[in-house]
Subunit: 264 residues, 2 copies
DNA sequence: TAAAGTTATCCGAATACCGGACATATTAAT
DNA sequence: ATTAATATGTCCGGTATTCGGATAACTTTA
C-alpha cells in the first residue's frame, strides 16, 4: 500500500546472498553470529545457513575458526579492489581531502550512498592533530544518520528523501539516543540550505558538523564530504570559512571526476 | 581424469555470477562487451545475458550507457570497502611500504592470491621519484605471472604450485611474449631461494625485480611484496641490500598482522 | 542490400532452491 | 546431575527458477 514492494525480478539465490552480504557489512567488523543474521536479515534460519555455505565455498564469506562468527571473505575483498578501481572517487579525492583535513585541522570523511545505506569510503586526518573519530573506511549505516546524508538529501527529489526516511525510520530508532524531532529539523535545514549542518543534534551531543555534496553534471549527488568539530570551536565566521573550503573541494572533485579526458 | 573437477556443491546462479564477476574483474578497467565475456568465461550467451541482468538489478554490475560495456558496479565497490575493512593487510602495510618505497626509491607492490588470480592490493611509490609502472590497485591477472607470485610459490606445497601452473598455462600463453622456458627457470629459482627474482625474464625485457612473501604463523603465504627496477641499476651488493629490506618489511608486517592484541 | 557480427528475447524441461520440521550441540539455570 | 533454554546443523519433498537451444531484433561492414 504505502511501501513500493517492487522487486520481484532478480534471481532468487542471488537476492538472498545480497541480503546476507549487506547484513554482514552492516554488522561489526568482528563478524556476526548466525542468530544475529536471522534477527537482522529476517530470512529463515535454514536458508541463511544454506546460502552462507555456498558463499563460504566461493570465498565471499569466512568463518572465524574459534568464535564461529561469519564475516565478509578475502575473495570478496579482492573483488572489491577491482570494483573500486573502476569507481575511483576515493582515489581521486585522496590528495584534495588530505590537504583539506590538514588545512582545517579536522577529520574529513567521504561517503557514498548504496541503496538504503551510507558507506564511508574515505577518512582523512591532519597528521599534526590526530583526532580519534568513530568513522572508518568501510563503515556502513542507515542512510540519513550522518551529516553527509543530509548534504545529499538536499540535492535529491523530496519524494525520494521521504521514501528513504520512511524505509529507514525503524533502523534510526534502533540507535541509542535518536531524537526524531531534531532529526526532521536537521533534514529541513539541509533541504533549505543546500548543505548539511548541525550543532548538538542527532547522536553525539558535544560535536557539530558540516557536510556538502559532490554533484554530477546533472546535479545528482554522487558522494558527500563531511567534517566534525567540537561544538564552540568555530564561531560563525569560522563556520562560514569551513563551509566555503568544503564547497571548493567538492566542486574541484566534481570537475575532476566528470571532466572529459582528451582523446589519446 | 587428470583435472580434479571437484566443485559440484555451490549454488548454481551464485556460481555463474561469481564466474562473470571474476571475468569482469580480469578485464580492462573500461569494462567488457558481452561477446568478450562469452569468449573469456566460456558460459553460454543467453545465460550470461540473464545473469548480468540480475547482477545489474543488484547494482553489482553496471553498463556504460553509450558504449554498452558491462563493468563492476558501484554497490559492489561499496561492499568491497566493508570487506576490505575486515582484511586490513593493505591498511596495515600502508606506512611500512610507503617508507620502503621512499628508501629504495623504487615502486613497491603488494599482492594477494585469489583463487587462480593474483590481485594487486597496494602500490607505493616514492614521492621524490615518480615512476610510471603498469600495475595499479585492483589489477588482476593469472597467478604466476608476476614476481610476487614466485615469492609465494616458494612457500606453497610443490603439488599446489604445479596445480596452479597447469591450470593457468593456457592463460600464460595468451600473454604476448611469454617464454615458457624462462618461466619454469624462474619458478625453480624461487623454490630454491625462498624468494622471487628475475632479470630480463618473463615479460618486460629491460626490468629486473625482487619479491618476498608475507607468511602467517604456520608458514603459509598470505601476501607478497615486490619491487621492480631497471636492469643494471643495482649491482650484487645493492640487490642484496634491497632483498634484506624487503624481507625486513615482510617480517615486520607479518608480526603486526598476526600479533595477538592485548585483551581490552 | 546483402552478409556478418552482436545483442536481446522466448519458453518448455529439468534442476536445485526453498524452508518447515526435526536432530544435535552448546550454554545457563535449578 | 538434570533440566531448561538457546544456538547450530541437517533432511527432504514440492515447486518456483534456472537452464540454454533456438530464434528474432538490431548494428556494423562489405
Amino acid at each position: 500500500m504505502s511501501t513500493p514492494e517492487t522487486s520481484p525480478q532478480a534471481a532468487g539465490s542471488l537476492n538472498r546472498a545480497t541480503i546476507l552480504l549487506t547484513t554482514l557489512a552492516r554488522g561489526s567488523r568482528k563478524g556476526s553470529t548466525l542468530t544475529e543474521l536471522v534477527k537482522r536479515s529476517g530470512l529463515p534460519r535454514p536458508t541463511i545457513h544454506r546460502v552462507l555455505d555456498s558463499l563460504m565455498e566461493l570465498g565471499w564469506v569466512e568463518r572465524e575458526p574459534d568464535s564461529g562468527r561469519y564475516n565478509l571473505g578475502a575473495d570478496l575483498a579482492a573483488l572489491g579492489y577491482s570494483a573500486i578501481a573502476r569507481h575511483p572517487i576515493a582515489r581521486v579525492a585522496e590528495t584534495t581531502l588530505s590537504a583539506l583535513a590538514e588545512s582545517l585541522r579536522q577529520v574529513v570523511y567521504l561517503g557514498v550512498r548504496s541503496g538504503l545505506d551510507m558507506v564511508c569510503i574515505g577518512r582523512y586526518e591532519s597528521p599534526s592533530q590526530i583526532q580519534i573519530g568513530k568513522g572508518y573506511v568501510g563503515l556502513r549505516g542507515p542512510f540519513g544518520m550522518s551529516l553527509s546524508c543530509m548534504a545529499m538529501f538536499a540535492h535529491l527529489p523530496e519524494a525520494e528523501v521521504q521514501d528513504i526516511i520512511n524505509a529507514n525510520m525503524a533502523r534510526y530508532h534502533r540507535i541509542e539516543g535518536f531524537d526524531e524531532q531534531g532529526f526532521h529539523r536537521t533534514v529541513a535545514d539541509a533541504m533549505r540550505n543546500g548543505y548539511g549542518t548541525y550543532d548538538n543534534i542527532i547522536l553525539d551531543r558535544s560535536t557539530s558538523g558540516l557536510a556538502v555534496a559532490i554533484l554530477d553534471p546533472s546535479g545528482h549527488p554522487v558522494a558527500a564530504i563531511g567534517t566534525t568539530y567540537i561544538t564552540g570551536w568555530l564561531d560563525d565566521a569560522g563556520k562560514q570559512r569551513c563551509l566555503e573550503q568544503l564547497q571548493l573541494a567538492a566542486s574541484k572533485l566534481a570537475q575532476r571526476l566528470f571532466m572529459e579526458l582528451p582523446a589519446s
